[in-house]
């Protein structure tokens, strides 16, 4: 891809971001529910006190003025102050982000590491017992609600077998000074192996719960695409040449069969970030998803706006990455 094309793609981001800002802003503003009333809750207050709170939250200005302020501030990287945390929204989000990204990445790894081998196996042993099991399994994987599956895993591994913790990100005996914010990386960088195992034991259940639907989708994509590739002439030719089965499968077939898998995985990673909300709530995972859900109920406008903007940017960038990967894997396609 030329530099010009790259720039063009990046420029395309701008209208998307402006559009997303407008939509989120309008949706939050038009949804019934007054942040000031919610914040005061069940209390007797004077109208003056209510007005003061409204002014402090910046909600006394007309809506178009608020939107203009939001956009001009956002351009400068200022997303305002969270109504509840009373700190810059960017700080609050930045504190929660590493946990969300770490969980998503581990879930992605879990998904890829199980989906690809299973998908390939199911394809080369088409209609075998294994293939059928994998197909039924993937159907279950897509249809099981994450909430229910997570609690099931928790009851089994944490409550009955007591081999994994119920919730949280790491135990409270070890203090890890952050480097990257990813505990699995930081504990290793600090050479603290016991803390690494501790962090790993905490992430296993949420990562499996989060990664399950993606595993199921990727497995089916891999299987279908592998089956298709195996029917291609060049594979038959490679077999006719007398190449070993292993060489045909892994050198010739798999490389091409993985193209759709990789691009679907890149796009699905965006939904992993979104799907975090439920898994983070079930496992008490201190990530962004949970914070956003809480903020929506409380009508914490600045936080929701900034977070949704973040999700949108990530999604667009991941799509872009998927395109790049696609061209890299398949030189016939030009962007």
């Amino acid at each position: 891809m030329s530099l010009g094309k790259l720039l063009e793609r990046i420029l395309q981001l701008l209208p998307v971001l402006l559009g997303v800002s407008l939509i989120v802003f309008a949706m939050m503003a038009l949804t019934p529910g007054d942040p000031v009333q919610i914040m005061i809750g069940d209390q007797s207050v004077t109208p003056e006190q209510e007005a003061a709170l409204r002014r402090d939250l910046g909600l006394d200005r007309p809506i178009h003025e608020r939107f203009f302020l939001f956009v001009t501030d956002a351009v400068r990287g200022d997303f305002g102050e969270s109504f509840y945390h009373r700190r810059p929204v960017a700080d609050v989000i930045a504190e929660r982000l590493p946990a969300t990204i770490e969980l998503s990445l581990v879930a992605l790894i879990v998904a890829l590491a199980t989906a690809i081998p299973l998908g390939v196996l199911a394809a080369i042993r088409k209609n075998s017992v294994l293939d059928r099991l994998a197909t039924v399994g993937s159907l279950l994987g897509v249809s099981l609600p994450g909430f229910w599956f997570g609690i099931l895993l928790m009851m089994l591994f944490a409550v009955h077998l007591q081999i994994l913790p119920v919730s949280g990100r790491i135990g409270y005996s070890s203090e890890i000074v952050p480097i990257t914010g990813f505990l699995l990386v930081d504990t290793l960088l600090r050479g603290n192996l016991s803390a690494f195992w501790d962090a790993l034991s905490h992430i296993i259940l949420p990562a499996i719960t989060l990664g399950l639907p993606m595993t199921a989708i990727l497995m089916r994509v891999t299987r279908t695409s592998m089956l298709e590739v195996l029917r291609q002439d060049y594979v038959t030719f490679a077999e006719a040449k007398g190449l070993s089965r292993r060489r045909v499968l892994f050198r010739h077939a798999l490389k091409n069969a993985l193209i759709p898998t990789v691009s679907v995985a890149a796009i699905e990673t965006g939904s992993l970030l979104g799907g975090n909300m439920i898994v983070e709530t079930v496992f008490g995972w201190p990530g962004l998803g949970r914070l956003v859900v809480e903020s929506i109920f409380l009508r914490n406008y600045p936080l929701v706006q900034a977070a949704v903007l973040f999700y949108a940017v990530t999604y667009v960038l991941l799509n872009f990455a998927a395109d790049l990967l696609y061209t890299a894997l398949n030189p016939r396609v030009k962007l």
Binding site: G41, R87, M154, M155
Partner: protein
């Protein structure tokens, strides 16, 4: 491995096991929400206050029976209807070792009550909780006087909601710093706040001991306290059963038996402070007739629902006040009588019954469905419509603006257990929580007078009078006050739940 080696190894292991190991005693609370901020003056959430209360002490606090007792103050005297004096104890230290003075108390209260005192022109969101404070002064070295603009009898009941910060510390770190840094006088010091995950505290060894009226007095029992954030109730129960936490709040009624039957856990309950009721839109064409509202009250078998759905964990009410609240009294009850309900409906001109919709938040759908089926049996054919809290609040709490809708299954919290904070907002014409659209000038007069009446007996009598008026008018169907349910580990001692939903861990111990 030789035999000798084995013996040596075995004896080392035995020796290690026999040696006393100094293990830190941690008490972990599985808690629904993280703190929004650690600044005692800059938040609006009960859960945030529950956490902060273990780090910061207040001028006064509440004992297990919800009585207000001095904490940082030595004594409290009401000088006049608008003046309260607090003699501040000497020798109390902040976590950084500096001594707390009356100036710190004045500074802390000014931060909450003075307009724009939070910096950047912002006013504390907790200002409303302090009522009509005119000024706070230090009148001699150790006495702080709060002067009110007008009498406000519930000041002592509201004061436990505020905590004392160090003036020097706040001036150093600023309001921004106080959001994440702590220098209080409470029984625990902040170790680390893992945002969204946990707040880790350790015992403050120089603690002055806390309220003298609440034994034991002295430093906290446990070495560390961890508030671990577990928002999902099934996960909190799992954490308790797995032994990961020692206390969980908000145990759902349907998990009570499971926690009770487990070998290492138990259930503790306390009367809550939140009254549940059904608002009937008195501006509408159906519920403007008191007979229809009385019919609804007669149609609901409260005890049946308390027993079957709330697992017995609620107290039935016949007025807005909790049985534990100031001024609560026995009131005539609308007995469960579906036939009488049908008769009242017929008298009101609805011999064939009525069709109505009842709004409810998702969390209470089950209960509302049960109520609806009882209403339906008596001829008030009720459809339950689930809405989101913020949306329903806007629809029903219109502060005098026109209202739509028929019925609203809702509740109002009353942490101070004083009628001023629940009776007035829900019943005074056009007030914030008046979702029924009830307007009775006679009642307004009584409520306004009671709000500033200083004589407790006379004040209680006024609320009694108000309750009787409301009882006849029936703007709401008063349902129940649920108990707060906690799950605890059997290794925990010295802690009982408190009606104001605080979890003060100063006196709690773990084995």
């Amino acid at each position: 491995m030789t035999r000798l080696h084995r013996i040596a190894l075995a004896s080392t292991v035995a020796l290690c096991a026999a040696m006393p190991v100094a293990e830190a005693k941690d008490l972990t609370v599985g808690f629904t929400l993280d703190a929004d901020t650690l600044d005692p003056a800059n938040h609006r959430k009960r859960e945030t206050e529950t956490i902060i209360r273990n780090l910061y002490d207040g001028i006064v606090t509440r004992d297990a029976n919800m009585q207000v007792v001095p904490e940082i103050a030595e004594s409290m005297t009401q000088v006049s209807p608008t003046e309260y004096d607090f003699k501040i104890r000497e020798g109390i230290k902040f976590h950084d070792g500096t001594e707390m003075t009356a100036e710190d108390v004045k500074f802390s209260l000014d931060r909450i009550t003075v307009d724009g005192a939070m910096g950047d022109g912002q006013t504390s969101p907790r200002q409303g909780l302090m009522g009509p404070v005119d000024k706070v002064e230090v009148i001699d070295g150790t006495t702080v006087r709060i002067t009110l603009k007008e009498p406000w009898p519930i000041l002592p009941a509201m004061l436990p909601n505020q905590q004392i910060v160090s003036k020097a510390f706040v001036e150093r770190v600023g309001t921004a710093g106080l959001a994440t840094e702590v220098n209080g006088t409470g029984p625990f010091k902040l170790v680390e706040w893992r945002k969204g995950d946990a707040i880790i505290m350790e015992r403050f060894d120089d603690y002055y001991g806390g309220a003298t009226d609440i034994a034991p007095v002295g430093p906290a029992c446990v070495d560390r306290v961890i508030f671990k954030v577990i928002p999902e109730s099934a996960s909190r129960v799992a954490a308790l059963l797995a032994g990961d936490v020692d206390i969980i709040n908000d145990l759902p009624a349907f998990s009570v038996a499971q926690v009770k039957n487990a070998p290492d856990t138990d259930v503790l309950t306390v009367n809550g402070t939140r009254s549940f009721f059904i608002a009937m839109n008195m501006e509408g064409e159906i519920f403007d007739d008191p007979k229809v509202r009385q019919a609804a009250a007669h149609a609901i078998d409260k005890q049946l629902i308390i027993d079957k759905i709330l697992a017995g964990n609620a107290a039935s009410i016949d007025g807005i006040l909790s049985p534990d609240a100031f001024g609560a009294s026995e009131l005539p009850a609308y007995e469960y009588d579906p036939e009488k309900a049908a008769a009242l409906l017929a008298e009101a001109g609805f011999p064939d019954g009525i069709d109505v919709t009842m709004d409810v938040e998702g969390a209470f759908k089950d209960t509302a469905e049960a109520v609806a089926s009882l209403l339906t049996k008596a001829g008030i054919r009720t459809r339950v419509a689930v809405g989101e809290s913020a949306q329903l609040t806007e629809k029903w709490r219109t502060e005098g603006e026109p209202k739509s809708g028929d019925m609203y299954f809702t509740s109002w919290g009353n942490g101070s257990l004083d009628p001023f904070d629940i009776f007035t907002p829900t019943h005074r014409s056009h007030d914030r929580g008046n979702s029924a659209g009830y307007a009775n000038p006679e009642l307004d007069k009584i409520l306004d007078a009671a709000a500033v009446e200083m004589d407790a007996e006379a004040r209680a009598a006024m609320y009694r009078e108000a309750e009787l008026i409301v009882n006849a008018d029936a703007p709401y169907v008063y349902l129940w006050v649920p108990q707060d349910i906690y799950g605890v580990s059997k290794r925990l001692s010295g802690w009982t739940p408190s009606a104001d939903s605080r979890i003060n861990l100063h006196d709690a111990c773990v084995e």
